[in-house]
Symmetry: C2
Subunit: 201 residues, 2 copies
């Protein structure tokens, strides 16, 4: 019996999006399942004292270039969003609500659909009406979701997710934890795979 | 006629050390030479608003783990230094002095010897007496180096190196620029290789 891979991501993170396109096939190759955890880097950065990559001098322009180049290198469709990063509070809350109402598989499908909407189709997935539109395209009840996103229980559930993630040492996106071994970044998928294969590095 | 790879590194950077063990063989594979540029992350971070990885909450403990794990993954000898990062002003100045006095090849040999001293043998290579000891082990004139390291011309030369690096967008270690294409991090060697191979990514 092997444990799942905990997969942490922010909906506004290009590297999180890249990882989301590969994490399931990688896990399946080694008989693992994946538990998807939306986090809010904005909240995490308050603790770590970090700021979003694109806003940093020198590092900012480079990171925009690296997002696009990494996508090409790995063969992942990517159109640079006009606004990056965005606040994805609504998106993360919607994901948790969908998980409660429709189950984990549907919530994962929503994650992928939202990521594609933002990083391929240029839709601002931080705005509530766009979140609902994305969900409705997946046959999710838009009215119920609208209400659910602002429900106190869902707000608390997200706060708890972020707190638990930080308690486990999560500070970036994507972040993977398997058998207590932490991996930060899409560029650690090679080490993650070696760990899954050999049980150690 | 192909241009050289500009290789920027801080003597206190584990990822810079890892890169230093591979950059020449990678370059040679594609008919390129390497120009080694010592930089001071401390000075760069004042501009970018960054702080050394090991000092950050959450990110700090992870980075120490990642240094050691990355070394194992890539088969590079590595013993975590007791103190990290250290100020490598003396080391960088020594490298430039050796370059002027003994030529580029000897200076590169010094870089590798100093990196091994710090990351394998646990020698604090920020301290002037240790810098001299490392250099003397390579048949460099220790007395002349001692004087050279505190020479105003060498101090200015290093200041200029760091300024020129930042003017080219360098903000971390290792950082490689080839044909105007920038690559940050040892974990971008795969993309660097693809670029050297195909002339684009």
């Amino acid at each position: 019996m092997t444990s799942a891979i905990d997969f942490y991501f922010d909906f506004s993170s290009p590297y999180g999006y890249f990882a989301s396109t590969r994490i399931e096939s990688l896990a399946a190759k080694y008989g693992r399942s994946v538990v998807w955890h939306p986090i809010l880097l904005g909240a995490v950065f308050k603790t770590t004292g970090s700021v979003p990559l694109p806003e940093l001098p020198l590092k900012g322009p480079y990171s925009l270039r690296d997002f696009a180049r990494s996508a090409r290198f790995h063969g992942i469709p990517y159109n640079p969003p006009e606004e990056l990063p965005i606040t994805t509070l609504n998106t993360a809350r919607a994901m948790l609500w969908i998980q409660q109402r429709y189950g984990a598989a549907k919530a994962v499908e929503f994650c992928k659909t939202a990521y594609r909407a933002y990083f391929i189709d240029g839709i601002h997935i931080g705005e509530a009406e766009n979140v609902v539109r994305v969900a409705v395209s997946m046959d999710i009840d838009g009215g119920a979701l609208s209400a659910g996103m602002s429900d106190a229980a869902i707000k608390n559930a997200l706060r708890t997710e972020v707190e638990q993630a930080m308690a486990k040492g999560v500070f970036g996106s994507p972040f993977m934890i398997v058998d207590d071994e932490p991996f930060w970044g899409f560029d650690r998928f090679d080490q993650l795979e070696a760990f899954l294969k050999n049980g150690k590095i």
